[in-house]
């Protein structure tokens, strides 16, 4: 067992090194306008993704369930999905490429944080053996990935509207476009969050006959979703944009982190099995 844990932790560390190398290359490439360096920063990302995939599959085989129980599994898979979501969206929307200066560090921070938790084996409670649970968790993770991209653009907007914006900021699209990207990726996050919440209620109904139980995780997830709904409606109907929208998004993003990682510690419920 110790040997298996050692292999898993070593693979995660290797992935961290890859992502750190990618972050350094990427940020320096963007800031110092070295396009070749920035382009090559994706080599260690692909390597890191490969190593992390091996680590996740290896641990999956050992514990006998997907990466959604122990904190180390949850954070590591969140990091993996955030990176994959970014790479997939970049394929369709090449203009989001510069969001890498936020996405890469977030990824390595998540996986580095995962390593600090004990990766002990957590057995799967019987109610967790449902495909709806897998969908429920997967869509929340995808939502987190899209929200990280929206976070990047909200931060960019605030930086670009600084009195003295840095020279590398010139490479970013104009503030209106940045604002629009933040808006749209929040929309993606809102939809994925909704699908995650809905899949969760189907899982609950299939497992214990109640599709909504008002436990802290469910309630805070609904609050977060409504808050993103307020953000989207304010933008659409009241033409709210710019700094206020960026700060409002950052508030919503923090709320989403609380919902995902803190509320499972708030009370006893089925969600209390997760991330403990």
């Amino acid at each position: 067992m110790d040997k298996q844990v050692a292999i898993y932790v070593a693979l995660n560390w290797l992935a961290v090194f890859c992502y750190v190398a990618a972050t350094i290359a990427n940020v320096s490439g963007v800031v110092f306008r070295k396009e070749v360096v920035e382009r090559r920063s994706y080599y260690p990302v692909w390597l890191g993704l490969l190593v992390q995939s091996v680590a996740i599959i290896y641990w999956w085989r050992i514990v006998g369930h997907g990466p959604y129980m122990a904190p180390s599994e949850v954070l590591s898979s969140d990091a993996w999905i955030t990176m994959v979501v970014f790479l997939v969206f970049m394929r369709f929307f090449p203009r989001i490429r510069l969001a890498s200066v936020v996405v890469f560090p977030v990824t390595f921070l998540l996986i580095a944080l995962a390593i600090f938790y004990n990766p002990g084996i957590r057995s799967l409670p019987p109610t967790f053996g449902s495909i709806w649970l897998v969908l429920h968790i997967s869509f929340y993770k995808i939502s987190l990935g899209t929200l990280v991209i929206a976070l990047a653009f909200s931060i960019f907007f605030l930086l670009k509207n600084d009195r003295v914006p840095s020279a590398w900021m010139q490479r970013l699209p104009d503030p209106d476009s940045i604002d629009l990207y933040a808006y749209r990726f929040t929309g993606f996050g809102f939809i994925f969050w909704a699908i995650g919440m809905l899949a969760g209620s189907i899982w609950a109904y299939k497992s214990w006959g109640r599709f909504w139980g008002w436990d802290p995780v469910e309630t805070w997830s609904l609050i977060t979703w409504l808050m993103f709904g307020v953000y989207l409606h304010l933008r659409r109907f009241f033409r709210v944009s710019g700094r206020f929208a960026a700060f409002l998004f950052i508030f919503c993003f923090i709320l989403s982190l609380v919902s995902l990682f803190v509320t499972s510690h708030m009370g006893s419920s089925i969600h209390a099995e997760y991330f403990q």
Partner: protein, 442 residues
Amino acid sequence: MNQFKRFFLSRTTIIFLIMSALTAVTLSALIPQSFLTSSERMLAWQTAHPFAERLSELFGLHRIYTHPAFAVILGGVTISLALSTWNQFLAAWRHTFNPDRGISNGECFSVSGTVADSCRTLAAKGYYRLGGTAEEVLLVRNPWGYWGNTLLHLGMMVTIAASLFIALTQQRGVIHLAERAIRHSSEPLLMEEHGLLAKPLLLPQALRLDRIAYSFWPNHGVRQVASTISFPGDSGTSETKTVEINRILTHRGIRYYQGVEFGHAFFVEVTSRTGDNRLYQLQIQHPETPDKPSYNDFQDLLGDGCLVRSKYWVDAERKSFDNVNPLLTLRLDCRGEEVGQIPIKVGEKGSIGPYKFHLRAFAPWSRLIVVNLSGMPGIFLGFFIICLGGVLHYFTTPREAWVCGATASKSKICWRATKFAGFYQDELASLKKTLGCVENHG
């Protein structure tokens, strides 16, 4: 009617309604709700927060979801959603089947070739002809994207309506049954809940719990729990079925779910000082590990105001769950003081104070959740419509191209993305290149 519609569709009303719903849900997360919190915990919270307790009492904040104000918010949201869905349906219908002539806020440019040539090129790029004449044609890529918002709001409306219907008509409860015990249909359910328009749930027939099977992971976590139930019929025959976690049993319209709670029930005969004999069934949850006991308290079990406290190990030697040889410890507390305690195994006897205890037998017990509700297909349909609407709205933005003849050999194209225009500048540039743009008109 118009004023009514204008009020419910005004952006201020919509934001106010969403903010009100958000405030209500946030308050419910911060203030313990009486339907979710035990009376002991509620009392403890009230003692710890006297000011908040006064406010909660004044405004009914401890029962937000049954408060008339919440019903008003929910009603307002539903009306607003319904009107908004209808308006958006009309707009989507007009865009799809009766589109406007020309495009406002678009970018116009000239390309070489006739209108028919440009239409052919656009069709090859995934644009569909939605209207126009031989000289002026409207082509749209992803025309189904017009329906995204309609479906998104329709889905929410269907989900809210179905949830409301379920909340009003559902019946549910819980049965704790030991192996080989029979539960008659007239007995009330534990933790019984029913909607405002429903009566308490009565099972259509008696049931007998024939067998409980459970298994554990190597680290003692519960792997599976299953109950075999038989339903005795009128003709003397009985129907036997199995329910397990994530495998629901439906029998005569009632859905049975296997709960994760299970353990051992101890049949204890108690003899009082006067010589009265009575058999009690003490159900205790299964311990988490073989070396640790599991506990349960029974207030006023013996009718003397005292508390009977119990704990048990599955294996008296505390080594394994496989060896079921339970050791039960009973303790009697009267007026806050311990009177005494005894450890007993099956067949053994002991005394605490004036009572003699005899552990006659034990058997596994488990929780069955019993549910009778309709309306879930409405929830699932609502979910499906929301997902479909969300995907259409955010992933398939319609891009409109209005093509008209400029000269005999040139045509003019006006193009726009109906939403998130900044996202599609690359597509516009690529389109111009493919069409052979010769001149921009701004």
